[in-house]
Symmetry: C2
Subunit: 374 residues, 2 copies
């Protein structure tokens, strides 16, 4: 299957995959050892406009849950992240950087606090399950750490709310961003969040029963027909305009949360105990050496970026672009970049070095692109 990608069991398909295939999936990524459907015959730009005007159904089963449950669950989850979770309440979601002893990013999950002793870490593309298992075994925490049979289905775009209202009633539309609630589905209880990897977000149904995947897809698809629903997937143009960083793209274990602009999620005064605290305190004292920024740059629509592109000022390398696209809304190329101290002010002019050895002129700006003009 697929001209480029060999299908094997090691890279799992989701329980929605029969439907995804029936809809003519044409482009994939691989994420958390699973197939992530990305495109369905349209160009990224066509899909982007559709997503911004209508509603899409996305199979985001790749968003795996690490379930941490038991007497020591809260202690372990707090130890994982510099974000202060002492006031965290059940029913809410929290974006948490997870770092190693050096302060290097290992993942940036969304923490779903289900109960005081029960959490899901909705993870980006690394096996956070193994890290949490290792910590729990090593430190002897009284917890169970598992990957439950949960396969999220996302409903994204401005008409997502209307679809959800038709499906589950008015109450679900009152759900605030990064909160969750439960809905009844075929006699089961399913967790629904207001979230998603798109500019305007939407809803995600964390289906906990694989055998209901095709019935759920069909139900959502039917409800979406009056609203011009199409199948889709996380869209590069949309997420870049919105300034959404991708683990593995904008950051790896080589990066710390402070240079990713996540200082607001780091409580470093010693009031919480977390892995990497002293490393992050040192970085904070010295000041970050580089910072996440946007770059607008000219010329024809740029190629995809899959090897970091060097960014220079004069003869000095001052950073790199890690994701890039042409923005149809801004009518210019945009790149996510990490820029050295002294060069990260908005308005700084830079040169971008593409893999074909051509150069482009660009300007540093703050994120997100869509709302920041400086």
């Amino acid at each position: 299957m697929s001209d480029g990608l060999h299908f094997v069991r090691r890279i799992r398909t989701s329980p929605y995959f029969n439907r995804v295939r029936d809809h003519g999936v044409s482009g994939y990524s691989v994420y958390n050892h699973m197939i992530l459907p990305k495109s369905f015959g349209m160009s990224a730009e066509e899909a982007y406009w559709h997503l911004n005007e209508h509603v899409q159904i996305w199979d985001v089963s790749v968003e795996r849950q690490v379930e941490v449950k038991g007497p020591d669950a809260a202690k372990l989850v707090q130890w994982l992240t510099p974000r202060d979770l002492r006031q965290a309440i059940a029913g809410k979601c929290y974006y948490i950087p997870v770092v190693d002893a050096n302060g290097g990013m290992l993942n940036d999950p969304v923490l779903i606090k289900i109960a005081d002793d029960h959490f899901w870490l909705s993870v980006a593309d690394s096996d956070l399950l193994l890290y949490v298992k290792g910590l729990a075994i090593g430190a002897g925490f009284d917890v169970t750490v598992t990957e439950p049979d949960v396969n999220p289905l996302a409903i994204q775009g401005p008409k997502a709310e209307a679809v959800m209202r038709d499906l589950f009633g008015e109450a679900i539309t009152k759900l605030k961003f990064f909160h969750f609630d439960y809905v009844e589905l075929f006699g089961t209880r399913q967790l629904v969040t207001r979230s998603g990897f798109s500019a305007k977000a939407g809803f995600e149904i964390f289906l906990n029963e694989s055998s209901l995947a095709e019935p759920l897809w069909d139900l959502v698809w039917e409800a979406g027909q009056p609203y011009n629903m199409l199948p889709g997937g996380p869209n590069l143009i949309d997420r870049m305009e919105a300034g959404l960083l991708g683990y593995g793209n904008e950051m790896t274990a080589e990066n710390n949360p402070l240079e990713m602009g996540y200082g607001k999620f780091c409580t470093l005064d010693g009031s919480i105990d977390c892995i990497g605290l002293s490393a992050l305190q040192r970085i904070d004292t010295d000041g970050a050496a580089r910072m996440i920024r946007g770059i607008r740059f000219d010329g024809s629509p740029c190629p995809p970026c899959y090897v970091p592109w060097p960014v220079s000022v004069g003869s000095q390398r001052v950073g790199q672009i890690t994701s890039a696209t042409f923005s149809p809304r801004l009518n210019i190329n945009i790149g996510m970049s990490l820029i050295d101290r002294g060069f990260w002010d908005a308005g700084q002019t830079v040169t971008i070095h593409l893999p074909d050895a051509t150069m482009r002129q660009g300007t540093v700006c703050h994120l997100p692109f869509a709302t920041n003009t400086d």
Copy 2:
């Protein structure tokens, strides 16, 4: 790039990738967050015959190393696996199952013992790095755990020895299977193992300096010309005939090493302390509930297996096939399977249920296929 797979930085290309692309790579897998080149225009069967007769150069940079170094390194590595490493010697490689507290397989790396306090775990497709980091932090081991800049290049096939002799002299041909030595390369010292994911194995050069990747590729390619060298990658037909199991394909965390036929790598008498020991002792006492086996089955060449295919006897489900291919040498379809106790004897007839709802008749056999006729 590629019709099916979207290229992004998150799925890294290796330092050999320019050469791989110049050679016309046509099929990929994704493994340890990297592109694994699989095919170069030939069919799997053509590549299989070539591999069995000549020599191939494979970019297997996806085979990442987890480096464990320091005073507690040996203790931590032994804790990771039920395989008894007390007599392990520097200069040798050891296949080690790595399990969690329940005895579930988390990875099946090759352990390279560089020195008494210095190990590489050459890992299959899961982030074992995060598990080892978690254990080290949780238990407070005095070690450093890193992923070094090492990108293995494999030379596989019956003429691999001749190529290596021409490149590095007679001494390297004396290297025994699963041993390693060092060679001089452009003034640097590089670790070379006699190993590889093919039936007859070959050599792997664990290049520790990315900037030398293209010069190394060119050197090997030149040396391979008299021997009909072609670029290639791990070949499904070849590895299946040889009975080589793939982590993520034949086994996941749902499987224990005893049912994978790795009892010989499990010392369960209590003389070593390892994670999962009591779980494995329980399984060993009860006897494995299922066992890895081959199945030969009839009919036209089977499609690729990327969702496990149920295997039944009468109306009873007795197992599943996890990888399958037509074997041109045996002139029959072969499948790797996990078969329930009571049905795993060689000669047991079974029915295989393909995804298109057709059925095939098959017979259980021992592995490897190529040498076992029962």
